[in-house]
Symmetry: C2
Subunit: 238 residues, 2 copies
């Protein structure tokens, strides 16, 4: 937020309380919670963003999956997009934002090519991320994810922690599109779905065309974590 | 709109009628008219942009200047930004959009450096455009503006037409930041202000530090056009 010149009226602890209260009031047991800070609008006649009153929003809705549980079982079909992800020198991808015209255009392109979701590349042709998710490949039993040009997502971090606990080697480095197309396994991560296998890239089966064993192990461990008090915040419903 | 996968319920002629009617109803004699098309929101639970119902908005407000008439008389103070304009391979700049996080960050940087507005560069270090305006330099009596990586603005086009009528040589080509800093004259163009002189770039005076003669000639001719029926659409107020 500071990097985007946005001010939130609430700190970390207050935001946690607000979200817990939203979940409690909604009564939803499977809720998707979100906070958004907008720039707001400047006074009439002004175009100076410093004069905007930033707005804070928090809400919960019934859980929104990036991919339905059925699609997650069989694995997602992704295409590697011809649209380049907005470069880091233009918009900082590590500051979460919904400045998504590139990602949205990538989605339209994916649909036209028979895919269900898109992975965008950087100017060097390395896959970076997709609309709302980080990407991972499995190669020789090790897991790799891009080291830069991406949102450093919470679920991405959880995969790193799980890999460490499970003894799965994990590395951060550029992932050329060609490597993504011939990976043993591919998966994506998002708050809106957790760890989700990808079983087709650009129309071709990944590995055997079924979710692979490393992905399955991480995915199982991920959902287990929801019962771990270190990773969960309890909501006291009425 | 087609390039952004947006559908407007109205065609060109209908939009013109709507805007004229907005102006008439508002009673404003100096109005800023605008149409916006938004993607809209998808049905609950969906993240598919094809399922969004696009929304059309039209409004008029009291005229909004990018720079006040006083600042236009003395000339704007601009800084050449360290933020790169989002590249064409990520978002098409010729499809007008408000996907402006790069431009907004450039503005904050400009303010911090004592400027009033920002000009962003492409990855090669050529100046492309600013928040809501196209850029021009005057060199040896000729006028130059970037040929790519920019919105092909209406006022930019009007400058081309005026230059032709007035016998001022005009060229389209890349404008390195270094050339912008030592130009004889610099001006920017926008619907929200017309042709506006820039008299400081990165804190240094442009030319003599006052609006130059070529800019003044074009600016005068531009405002004259508002009385030309080929360029004006009459509004019949009650």
């Amino acid at each position: 937020m500071v990097r985007l010149h946005l001010r939130s009226p609430y700190g970390r602890d207050e935001i946690r309380e607000i979200l817990v209260e939203c979940a409690r009031l909604s009564g939803l047991r499977d809720a998707y919670a979100e906070v958004i800070c907008t720039r707001g609008i400047p006074p009439a006649g002004s175009r100076d963003p410093r004069e905007c009153e930033n707005k804070f929003f928090a809400f919960v809705v019934p859980f929104v999956w990036i991919a339905s549980p059925e699609k997650q079982e069989r694995g997602l079909h992704a295409t590697i997009s011809g649209v380049q992800r907005i470069a880091q020198c233009s918009v900082d991808p590590t500051a979460k934002n919904y400045h998504w015209l590139d990602l949205t255009m990538g989605l339209y392109e994916a649909y036209e090519r028979g895919g269900e979701t898109a992975m965008l590349v950087d100017r060097e042709g390395n896959v970076v991320e997709g609309p709302g998710f980080n990407v991972f490949v499995v190669r020789k039993g090790g897991v790799f994810t891009p080291d830069s040009g991406v949102l450093e997502g919470i679920t991405r971090r959880t995969v790193m922690e799980l890999a460490s606990v499970l003894g799965i080697p994990l590395g951060w480095r550029a992932i050329p599109a060609s490597e993504m197309r011939r990976a043993e396994e591919v998966f994506v991560t998002s708050t809106a779905g957790g760890i989700m296998p990808v079983t087709k890239v650009d129309g071709k089966a990944v590995g055997g065309g079924k979710p692979g064993p490393v992905t399955a192990r991480l995915r199982e461990a991920y959902w287990e974590l929801h019962r771990d008090p270190r990773y969960a915040t309890p909501v006291r419903y009425d």
